[in-house]
Amino acid sequence: MAVPQQPNETAADVAFGVARDAPPALIVADQLSKAFPNPDGTRKLAVRQLSLSVAPGEIYGLLGPNGAGKTTTLRMISGLLQPTEGRVLIDGQDVARFPLAVKRKIGYLTANTGLYARLTPRELLDYFGTLYGMAREARRRRIGELAEYLGMGDFLGLRCGALSTGQRQRTNIARALIADPPVLILDEPTLGLDVLSNRLILRLIQSQAQQGKAVLLSTHALDEIEVLCRRVGLIHRGALLAEGDLDALWQRTGRTRLSEVFLHLVGADEPLLAH
């Protein structure tokens, strides 16, 4: 159904059904496609015409099986990959045209992000703070805040190479948050973490959203999505199968669990064999 276009509405507003009175979305992906060239000259379409938007204060969950195109989508949104088609706006700025200005507004984190093993978390955070243009005093204050919030006091002065998985991921999160960016892009941030670290990070994501940040979260942990997100997008073979409020999805599919919704949508919802 065509949405009536108001005089000042942008194309992106219309495409995503963003109401005029809603705050403008901090993340807008508009008809993103990404094709990777194969050596034989053919192209592999990793993402096709994917659109989504995330408003301030919102946590948007991006779900999908392995190889569905989640990571590619997140990389395009954070400016690491150039879309073959479509565009990304962060806080109204086009990623392709203003890559540096946009990167300043993004905190980006993946499960397999490495740390500089020979630097301490304090040095690492200070380094990234400098790259984000923060003054010395601001860096010092921010490192103190993050260390306290993430419980990093014990290992702030140790070399990153000597940290445990949980400590490492906390350092990584602190790195993503060092410049207090309005947009967070998190790719499987809790992968491989124990329950305690997991809980700490989920709380942090919630608190960041409460501060008005737009969070785009990709994960396999569907229970995390159910707890954190109001809106989700289900991605399969590079395309967005369904998108919207969780309540609406449950109503539409008649399923009560996200995993069932997903299996239903991809047409693979045969029940498991009984014992």
Partner: protein, 717 residues
């Protein structure tokens, strides 16, 4: 945050990170500290010990008969007692202290002990290694030591050249004994006849080496040190280059770095500074260690074969200066190569060919006859090797030093540009983002309106070097002047015309846009005409000034005058076309078109015009023309950027060249100019009125061009 403070942050962090890695410190500090003392002291001392042992071994001599055995034994004994009586330092055979002497010469002067055997088949005995040397007497050996009266005897000395004992000890030792015996006989006979020694030695030759010990030591060091410095600069830079690119990718830190708000070029420059710094430090530590080992370890005397060893300290500061562009070039090349690799292991594989590729020109450089001239001046690595050797010998040719520094820096800049282009590539960044092959296949290139700064620099470095080699080849071909001119124009058209065009087509760069082919405004043509009609007279004025204050070598001057006379004998159309119009168009097409549009997209207008002007100046491969050609390049660059077109620059360049050529020709503009009071004579100089007129026209052209910019900005507002 400024670009410089970001780069500053990056390189300092990378340096701290690397220096905390034990492997870097080991490769950089421990290897040179341990390697040279171990290698030089150890191997040289081992060699000396072995030589000493071989010198005291008893060697076996085979002869065919008993009388021959007796005679040989007698001669050997006589020689031994003679040598024992006369101390070697004062004896006639004493060597000059500074003279080189090999194991063979030493054996000749201080023969080892011998045992003489009678063997039936002496050749077979030598061949089998049963004896070290054999003597065959032509005619029977005399019963006494001396052959009677004026008879002469022939002795054939048979040895095995493949056996070091036979070749370097037994044969020269025995030969020395026999020669001394012969010389003693001569003296005896002369005495018997009451004749002086000069009777048989009418020409007495004494050799005197006037090279001071410092230079002799420099000659030795010049053979060893440059190669070590090349190898060690690369070795030092390899580990950081891999660690900061492929290593970073492998550890998963690259993604976070690329997602930070820092342009790729700044990341690469930060990393490049560290790689270069460590390569440089490594080379300096190696140099210091070589110096220390030679100086403190007493290896110098062994290297100079007994001569006094003096380390040529005066050469050191310049060698350090030369190391900088060398480290810059290798740092950049290694970074470019490693940026391409996705893992440490892959990078190590890529680095091996770089090392090999660097060693080939290095070996060309250390060949004894290689001199710093012709293509060697711009041949990467080889030029540094030859120059370092020259510096050790105390030869300081500052023009050559400048060329080597400039050309090496240019290659470094091109390599760093390539590194920046590769570093941020998706296919390199993420293994799942497609094959690396796609980086080179045309169908995957994104169409562009102008080349990137990296591409422009790379094409510049390639075209510049190839053009130089081809011009040199042509100059040595022995063609007549007419064919030479046509050949030069053809090379220029090929290298600067067709080459960049093909590169643009291959890289899917829009040709009219990249070569700035859009038609200019009328004001553009006017500014071009003003410049083109004035720069030639200013250039001539400057040349007169330069020749008065910095006179050109008379041979070069004569050569130039001969060439000018030859040109005057040729058709003016041919000369103007090949030396004036074709270069004018082709050079504008390349320098103010392709290179300028590439550099201004990455560096901004002013740096781009300056760099292109300097490249244009260097392109004339002459130190005496660099000032005027660079200045002309600057003016042409202003025209090109202000009118966003090469046509005004091409017109100005063509007018400049055309008038400059015709002004020297009796069948051209010379009579007209002379009737107007301009006599082109280097001694007379250019009349002030002409210089002022030229200056005013030139300034008017520049002002007109600069006004264009103000008008354009207002329209934008």
């Amino acid at each position: 945050m400024s670009r410089f403070s970001r780069i500053n942050t990056i390189w300092r962090k990378e340096l701290i990170d690397l220096l905390r890695d034990r492997r870097t410190v080991i490769a950089m500090v421990l290897v040179p500290m341990v390697l040279y003392p171990a290698l030089m002291l150890g191997s040289l001392q081992a060699l000396e010990v072995q030589q000493a042992l071989l010198g005291t071994e008893v060697y076996n001599v085979a002869v065919e008969s008993r009388p021959a055995q007796l005679w040989t034994q007698q001669v050997i004994q006589e020689d031994a007692s003679l040598l024992a009586r006369s101390a070697p330092e004062t004896g006639p055979a004493a060597p000059d202290a500074a003279q080189e002497h090999s194991a063979r010469q030493r054996s000749e002067q201080r023969p080892p002990p011998f045992r003489v055997f009678v063997v039936a088949d002496i050749e077979a005995a030598v061949r089998a290694g049963d004896v070290h040397v054999a003597l065959r007497f032509h005619g029977a050996p005399p019963e006494r030591l001396a052959p009677p009266a004026l008879d002469a005897m022939g002795i054939e000395l048979i040895y095995d050249g493949s056996d070091v004992r036979s070749r370097d000890f037994a044969a020269p030792g025995l030969s020395g004994i026999l020669q001394r015996h012969g010389a003693a006989l001569v003296r005896e006979r002369l005495r018997a006849q009451n004749l002086p020694e000069s009777f048989v030695q009418p020409v007495a030759i004494t050799e005197r080496n006037i090279a001071p010990p410092e230079r002799m030591s420099g000659a030795v060091l010049g053979q060893i040190v440059p190669l070590i410095l090349i190898v060690m600069t690369i070795t030092g830079a390899i580990y950081p280059a891999i660690d900061l690119t492929a290593g970073e990718r492998e550890r998963g830190t690259l993604e976070t770095l690329v997602v930070a708000p820092v342009p790729t070029i700044e990341l690469i420059v930060g990393k490049f500074i560290v790689v270069t710094l460590i390569g440089l430090l490594s080379a300096v530590l190696n140099l210091a260690s070589i110096g220390g080992t030679i100086y403190l370890g007493g290896v110098g005397d062994t290297l100079t074969r007994g001569g006094e060893f003096v380390f040529p300290l005066t050469a050191l500061p310049l060698i350090f200066v030369l190391l900088v562009p060398l480290a810059v070039m290798f740092g950049a090349i290694l970074l470019a190569v490693c940026s391409f690799a996705r893992s440490f292991k892959e990078a190590q594989n890529y680095v091996v060919p770089v090392m090999m590729a660097a060693l080939i020109p290095a070996v060309v450089g250390i060949l004894p006859g290689t001199r710093l001239e012709g293509p060697i001046v711009v041949m990467p690595v080889a030029n540094i090797v030859v120059l370092t050797r020259d510096l050790f010998l105390g030869r300081f040719d500052y023009a050559a030093i400048a060329w080597v520094l400039l050309s090496t820096s240019l290659y470094g800049a091109a390599a760093i540009a390539v590194a920046a282009r590769l570093f941020g590539q998706e296919a390199v960044l993420f293994a799942d983002a497609g094959s690396l092959r796609t980086l080179f296949q045309r169908r995957f290139f994104v169409p562009r309106m102008a080349p990137s700064a990296a591409t422009a620099l790379l094409v510049l470095a390639l075209a510049y070097t190839l053009n130089f080699y081809l011009q040199q080849a042509l100059a040595r071909s022995g063609l007549n002047t007419e064919a030479l001119l046509i050949g030069l124009a053809a090379i220029l058209a090929l290298m600067y015309g067709l080459g960049p065009w093909a590169a643009a087509r291959y890289l899917r760069i829009n040709v009219p846009s990249a070569f700035a082919l859009r038609p200019p405004t009328a004001a553009g043509w006017a500014a071009a005409a003003l410049l083109g009609c004035s720069t030639w007279v200013l250039t001539i004025g400057y040349v007169v000034f330069q020749s008065q204050h910095f006179p050109v070598d008379s041979a070069v001057q004569r050569h130039a005058q001969d060439f000018e006379r030859e040109l005057n004998g040729l058709s003016p159309v041919l000369v103007v076309l090949t030396l004036g119009l074709i270069p004018a168009f082709v050079e504008e097409w390349f320098f103010r078109g392709f290179v300028l549009s590439g550099l201004r997209s990455g560096l901004g207008k002013v740096p781009a015009v300056l760099i292109v002007a300097l490249a244009f100046g260097l392109n004339h491969y002459s130190a005496h023309r660099i000032v005027q050609t660079t200045a002309l390049g600057l003016l042409l660059g202003i025209l090109a950027v202000q009118y966003r077109s090469i046509w005004p620059a091409a017109l100005a360049h063509a007018l400049h060249n055309g008038i400059a050529i015709l002004s020297h020709r009796p069948d051209g503009l010379q009579p007209l100019l002379e009737s107007l009071g301009l006599v082109l004579d280097e001694k007379a100089g250019v009349p002030a009125v002409w210089l002022i007129g030229g200056g005013v026209l030139c300034a008017a052209g520049v002002v007109l061009a600069l006004l264009q910019r103000q008008g354009r900005t207002e329209v934008h507002r």
